[in-house]
């Protein structure tokens, strides 16, 4: 554990905060992180309270649970309720509300919904239950999509025909582009996602610097990683540079994981468009199975309603995901919408901005209020 002592170095944190404060002394800077893990770290460790008021963090759409629109949950529930189906899902998705309920509710009403850790566990359920059809609810960015792809290849190799996937995989670059196109959102740079980047590498982000003139720094998940990334962003701004930098070289390489990318490309193709919760339709932002894998595509095998469902009026997840409002500024935050009874997706996942803020941020804010009002 000797490495950890060195890493959790309070003196290093203090030095970084001092550097950030100095670099940000002449303006107001707004940076967005697009990774649920970062959002969690930022709230858990109260990083916003360490920062000078001139540095503002905006929590972008980096949690795949939070960006799934209600209509897709309704579709998942419809598939799960089909006789003969065993519906498998990551635990994170069970409580996400659709327009009439969640997968957890469907399970309580008799649907055979099972939580799995891996798509390979779902495939095993199919092998063990040859007289049933097993559907895997595939969600996530490029972090989890290669695993789904490898599982589909394995299903084909082992000729497992009672297995299919309901793909809701999304890709990280299109929402970044969509956010950069929002007219009202002035960002000064991005804290880039860590684990997604182990797969896709650094190259796909170059357009952020080259076409939009914004600095981009990929970061790890430690509080010190986040602080260092912010210091690197501010350094770029102060030196009048903008480029893609990598704070997380411990895990992320320039090229990513070429084999994972190759398998992704073999199994998936881009959908023309996909609905993102709160962000609307984003072109070429999600993955569906290629035609040669139709037999494992749950969307073709089952009648899904496929209806776009508007978010509940009271819910402002969209504004939160765009960084237009802070979680606590939502009308239903912490009252009608809590982690126990979520209205919006941001309150469901522990990596969602609202749940993270609800769990870890309120005390910090109450302190801030008593010291002179919310920041």
């Amino acid at each position: 554990m000797r490495f950890v002592d060195e890493y959790r170095d309070p003196a290093a944190a203090r030095a970084l905060v001092a550097r950030i404060t100095e670099l940000a002394s002449d303006g107001h800077y707004k940076f967005m992180e697009i990774c649920g893990g970062h959002t969690h770290t930022i709230y858990r460790h109260g990083i916003e309270n360490l920062l000078p008021t001139s540095v503002e963090l905006v929590h972008g759409p980096g949690c795949p649970v939070c960006v799934i629109p209600m209509g897709r949950i309704d579709d998942a529930i419809a598939v799960a309720q089909t006789p003969g189906v065993i519906f498998t899902s990551f635990g994170d998705m069970m409580r996400v509300p659709g327009s009439t309920g969640s997968l957890l509710g469907a399970k309580a009403q008799g649907a055979d919904v099972r939580i799995v850790y891996s798509p390979l566990d779902a495939l095993r359920v199919a092998v063990d239950n040859p007289d049933r059809h097993v559907v895997f609810f595939a969600v996530g960015f490029e972090t989890t999509a290669p695993s789904t792809a490898a599982t589909v290849l394995k299903a084909r190799q082992d000729v497992v025909m009672n297995f299919s996937i309901f793909s809701n995989h999304v890709t990280i670059v299109p929402p970044i582009k969509a956010i950069l196109e929002f007219p009202d959102l002035r960002l000064d740079g991005f804290i880039g996602p860590g684990h997604v980047s182990t797969v896709i590498g650094q190259r796909p982000y170059r357009f952020v610097a080259e076409e939009y003139g914004k600095p981009f720094v990929t970061a790890g998940f430690e509080p010190l990683d986040i602080l260092q990334a912010i210091a690197m962003l501010l350094t770029q701004v102060s030196e009048g540079r903008c480029c893609v930098e990598n704070q997380y070289t411990r895990c992320v390489s320039e090229a990513g994981n070429p084999r994972a990318l190759a398998i992704l490309d073999e199994v998936f193709e881009l959908r023309p468009q996909f609905e993102w919760r709160g962000l609307g339709l984003i072109p070429r932002s999600a993955l569906k199975l290629r035609p040669e894998f139709v037999q494992w595509d749950a969307e073709l095998r089952f009648e899904v309603p496929g209806v776009r469902v508007a978010d509940p009026k009271a819910c402002q997840c969209g504004e939160v995901l765009k960084g237009a409002i802070k979680p606590w500024e939502c009308k239903v935050f912490g009252t009608a919408c809590t982690p126990e009874t979520p209205i919006g997706t941001c309150m469901v996942s522990s990596e969602g901005a609202c749940a993270a803020y609800y769990n870890f941020g309120r005390l910090h804010r109450e302190v801030a209020v008593t010291m002179g009002g919310p920041r």
Binding site: V4, L120, A150, H195, F221, C251
Partner: protein, 90 residues
């Protein structure tokens, strides 16, 4: 789902099926190493595991850092490790 959990490779036991035994938080489980085929994963290596697949080779120092960081996450980490332990990849 999004949390990468570090594990130490203990044994490569089925190269056709790309399976390896790893030690995750003191418990041994099977994972798939197909996505790291080009990296010559060997016993003693540390890997970052996402939903049953090794996604990146990392050094021991990073593995310890990551574990320490994850433990600080509390419930989210406990849930993920429990999920890994309940997994029955074969």
């Amino acid at each position: 789902m999004c949390l990468g959990i570090p594990g130490e490779v203990v044994e490569l036991f089925d190269s056709n099926r790309h399976l390896a035994k790893v030690d995750v938080a003191g418990v041994r489980r099977n994972i798939n190493i197909d996505l790291l085929e080009d990296e010559n994963v060997a016993p003693g290596d540390w890997v970052l595991i996402h939903v049953g697949f090794a996604m990146a080779k990392i050094d021991e120092r990073e593995a310890q850092r990551a574990l320490e960081g994850l433990q600080l996450m509390g419930q989210a980490y406990t849930d993920e490790v429990r999920a890994v332990i309940e997994s029955q990849i074969a």
